[in-house]
Symmetry: C2
Subunit: 342 residues, 2 copies
């Protein structure tokens, strides 16, 4: 319609969801000026060699809307998100930074409530906030509050986790029911009265992941938290990185009845809904039962489940064996799914 402006590409909401286009742009442009091999993967967490030791380093910015939702708030998310990213690299989270952008007029009482969530979540995760920054912008120049956290932690000795580490015969495990965070936030945003009191799963995973890694070390091949884009997106990323196929069983995927009901009404697909307190793991197939028993009995993940397996065929794709006995390819999402979900 407007040919004058056709040449001027602009950022869309969808640039923030899958993130592939944005990642490519950032890495292409920045890598032009960088000689460092560390820059070659702009993962959610990086592994650094400092003084001969392996350290994980990660960052996330949180813009969730609304700021408060059933089961947590932006503060819970800001700590859990970065703590979990470090854990997914096999690291013991230690220290966080905290950067605020506040809109002029934001209620101080709300900030205090968020700070209390941050403090409580830090205590639960065993991490300390050691450095911070606060910027205030004018009314209408930001939407209430945005929080960035970055974190560092030592990688646990003996752990060998990498996104390309899935092998045929490995099992795919999820640590609990999926989709609660997405439904809790979307329900609150839209003023829905949700049945069954669906609360977000947002939580730090250290109490589960650290014992798991200490006990099973190199038997744990991949750890990922299925946040933006959910389980479907994360599994597709694993299939691509490892050059393998993944077959999952619809029947085996734990979904709360209340979440399932909301999804059916609103047309959401649980596999694409974000979780903020769950992890996916690809593990040595021979240790599957032992790992599931450990998760259920020793770490409180009573609904930890084997949801599928790594296969040699159909590399790079994820197939779902449906309840009705059919097969369906689970694709990467396209476009913006749920803006400002974290």
């Amino acid at each position: 319609m407007n040919t004058i402006k056709n040449s001027t590409e602009r950022i869309l909401l969808s640039h923030g969801s899958g993130g592939e286009m944005m990642h490519k742009l950032i890495s292409d442009v920045i890598l032009k000026y960088s000689d460092s091999s560390e820059s070659n993967s702009l993962d959610d967490a990086a592994e650094l060699l400092m003084n001969g030791r392996h350290i994980a380093f990660s960052t996330d910015t949180f813009v969730v809307k609304p700021v408060f939702f059933p089961g947590g708030d932006i503060g819970t998310l800001a700590v859990s998100g970065t703590v979990n990213d470090l854990l997914m690299k096999g690291a013991r989270p230690a220290y966080l930074s905290l950067g605020f952008v506040l809109e002029e007029g934001f209620p101080v009482e709300d900030l205090k409530r968020i700070l209390e969530s941050i403090g409580q979540t830090c205590r639960r995760a065993g991490v300390s906030i050691v450095t911070g920054d606060t910027k205030v912008v004018g009314r209408g120049e930001a939407d209430s509050i945005f929080i960035n956290t970055a974190g560092v932690g030592d990688i646990i000795p003996g752990v060998q986790i990498s996104g390309s580490n899935a092998h045929s015969g490995d099992s795919v495990i999820v640590s609990g029911t999926i989709g609660r965070h997405g439904v809790a936030v979307m329900g609150e945003r839209n003023g829905l009265k949700l049945k069954g009191d669906i609360v977000s799963d947002a939580a730090p995973l250290n109490e589960v992941v650290i014992p798991l890694l200490e006990k099973f070390k190199e038997k744990i091949h991949i750890l990922r938290d299925p946040t933006r884009g959910g389980v479907a997106t994360t599994l597709n990323e694993i299939a691509r990185s490892s050059g393998c196929g993944i077959a999952i069983e619809e029947l085996a995927i734990p979904v709360d009845n209340a979440v399932q009901a909301v999804c059916e009404i609103l047309g959401f697909e649980p596999l694409y809904l974000p979780c903020e307190g769950r992890f996916l793991s690809v593990v040595d197939g021979a240790f599957t039962d032992e790992i599931i028993s450990f998760l259920r009995e020793e770490t409180g993940c009573r609904q930890a489940s084997v949801i599928g397996k790594i296969i040699a065929s159909t590399p790079g794709t994820v197939q779902l064996h449906t309840l009705s006995g059919g097969k369906r390819i689970i694709d990467m999402p396209s476009g913006e799914l749920l803006p400002r979900i974290c």
Copy 2:
């Protein structure tokens, strides 16, 4: 006027400038839930003990308006700011994280230009971007682009820098002319045609600070970059932390003629204007001449100057010996000076 809402305190722009009220709120609320000694100082950079080695860790969020200004852009600032915070702790900056908040509709060409600045500034600073995150929010939910960086680096062995390390007889040094960043951004924001082509001093300081620390080690007592609140605020913070007085000579403070002229017209005080590529240092008085010669001849800081000294009297205050022979107390700023300057 509105008694119903009187009890509801709200964030003001001034909460972002001096930052004292905000720092106190954050530390008070978070420290309630934290046992860690590392949390006791929410400095711009923290010193961490990881695996028996000393690491500096720092974060800053950048919301500068306008995004592009003479001498740099938000990308130059985002890298320089965190690199310089690490240097001010005596660390060799190594790795950065990068977190974007983008407003829907932001031009992709502008993002590319900013990414190129980030890449070039990283190369100059000898650091790598190793982890990142991008969030997109709707139109009107953020003002174009905000960038957070966090960074880590090893503290240089033998260096002993601390904000409480100023002693009577020490010299106060500034590495170059002050105030250019503040004038460049405010001029651009207000559409002023500034005489003399005033460009921001925004730059990473590694090429100066690392050689200085390697050569003079423990003779360098304090390093600080006078960003928000400028030289006046930073000197007041040093006087308070060290429990000393500071006497500075107006005649000795290097200010570009063009900056001075703009300040006189607009009513700015150069001592309160932010710098983004300068540092203040408190050094062993016996090495003053040697350090100034080194800065001027070996590091290219031709206008590095001794601007004053640490004195035992009037602890906690900064006094200016004026051109006319008088004395004036230089206070901490109150209220919002220059919003969104970095």
